[in-house]
Amino acid sequence: MAGDIQSLSATAAAEAIANGGLTRSELFEHYRIRAAADTLNAFTWVADVEPAPVDGALGGVPLAVKDLFCTEGIPSQAGSKILAGYCPPYTATAVANLEAAGAAVLGKTNQDEFAMGSSNENSAFGPVLNPWDHSRVPGGSSGGSAAAVAAGLAPWALGTDTGGSIRQPAALCGIVGLKPTYGAVSRYGMIAFASSLDSAGPLTRDVADAALCYRHMVGRDGNDATSVVFPEPIETPTAERLDGLTLAVPTALVDGEGIEPGVRQSFEASLDTARSLGATIIDCEIPSARYALSAYYVIAPAEASSNLSRFDGVRYGLRVDESNLDAMYTETRHDGFGAEVKRRILIGTYALSSGYYDAYYGRAQRVRTLVARELAGIFERADFIVTPTSPTVAFGLGDRTSDPLAMYLSDLFTIPMSLAGTPAISIPSGLSEGLPVGLQICGPAFSENRILGAAHALEGAIGFDGSVTWGGAN
């Protein structure tokens, strides 16, 4: 039976429980044992016992939750030493919504500290290993969530995406990751990184699971003033064709330097598959794309420098004992934050400081307007923009840790959509040198149903076999 359980998607597991073919306790225990035996360092906390059952459409299917989400009474450390051991007094809305629909929290997953990173090597709790090759990174910042799903330690997981932190690890681990329209999912209880960019979304084995999870995440929340009512229900995707749909390829960007030949090849094969399903492929340009990365690395640190001011040793988390208040603040932050987080706090503070505000933050916000305009222009003549999700496959542990800029380039294709607040999905498009490649499909705001439909059609035609890792023995 264990092998049978392991082969079930989250959707299929929920159906098996509804039909009486499987009990929720059997399912939870199956994954609890696997998660507790995690050798990838994907989890920072695993439940000892099954949570009290809640009736709902998700039927008790276990859920791994990125550590960035607050979960009441359960460690929520955001990958940071400054929050080591912190158990919040409330649960994030996205998690609470899924629990109310019947999901059972299985564990908390490792991540780059405060979601700042693209390799999961910036975690105070150590790096996560990629299930496809243990000498490589899983991507980041939702690296623990991606690795847990890819290795079959959890049926599905929650992640967050600020500049690519769901899509890039999903791509590097050979699974599906959806970054929603900004505001579709409440940010309440997500430990804030960059508030105008942060989005919560699912990481799953397949597109149908992503739709099922997402359906129970969306909605207006009185505790997040930027959250909105999703204009339509999230449907179960069934499309098998792409007839009548136009996919735009930002050719200059995709042809740029830094993209690996194997990634390029897999992307071209995906375009051929899309054509065979009836889609029309056109060229497009995002002229400001190369400036988007620079704008992002001003805007996100600027917002982070403000958001992370709350970690001061007063109300929660680490305190370094000093004899006066100011030294307590500054030494707590010195000892509690890791190197990348400090870099971004300093960059953000600099960009917002007197004399530099207009040159950095002001200009970056204008670049953001250009990027959003350019994407909107493309969506007037195309249904979707498609790119590889990441310019490379999973890189080696330690390969980029000494060069922050090289690490930042991991997010080249995902950042424009983050700045524009538009939804995008990454699905596996194949292998390059034995490692997964991701295909990104992006649409206008609130086009999630159409994106999930197109992704479902492509997924079926591509026929990627993720069971290579999630079907294994861990």
Partner: protein, 95 residues
């Protein structure tokens, strides 16, 4: 691009201690990153409005009613130090 004095000023604004042996490396890293993001200076952004936030955030006020919130002891529980009903911190003037 950013020297030690400027770095110390920014670190002071951020309430982040930097120790003597960290200054040169940090200044170097920040200069490299700032050099890269300075690419946005090349763009002609005349007449382009800034975007602080995507989406419609108007009409987001709620009624000003008293609502239940965290109990005081629950809110104080994760604090490193408390006294009576409040958070306890060292004196601003030192001991």
């Amino acid at each position: 691009m950013i020297d030690r004095d400027e770095l110390l000023h920014v670190a002071r604004l951020a309430r982040l201690a930097l120790h003597e042996d960290e200054l040169d490396a940090t200044a170097g890293e920040l200069s490299t990153i700032l050099g890269h993001v300075a690419a946005i200076e090349e763009l002609d952004l005349e007449g382009v409005e800034p975007t602080a936030h995507i989406g419609d955030v108007s009409d987001s006020l709620r009624a000003d009613h008293v609502r239940p919130s965290l109990a005081r002891d629950v809110a104080l529980a994760p604090a490193p130090a408390i006294r009576d009903d409040g958070f306890l911190v060292p004196s601003p003037q030192g001991e």
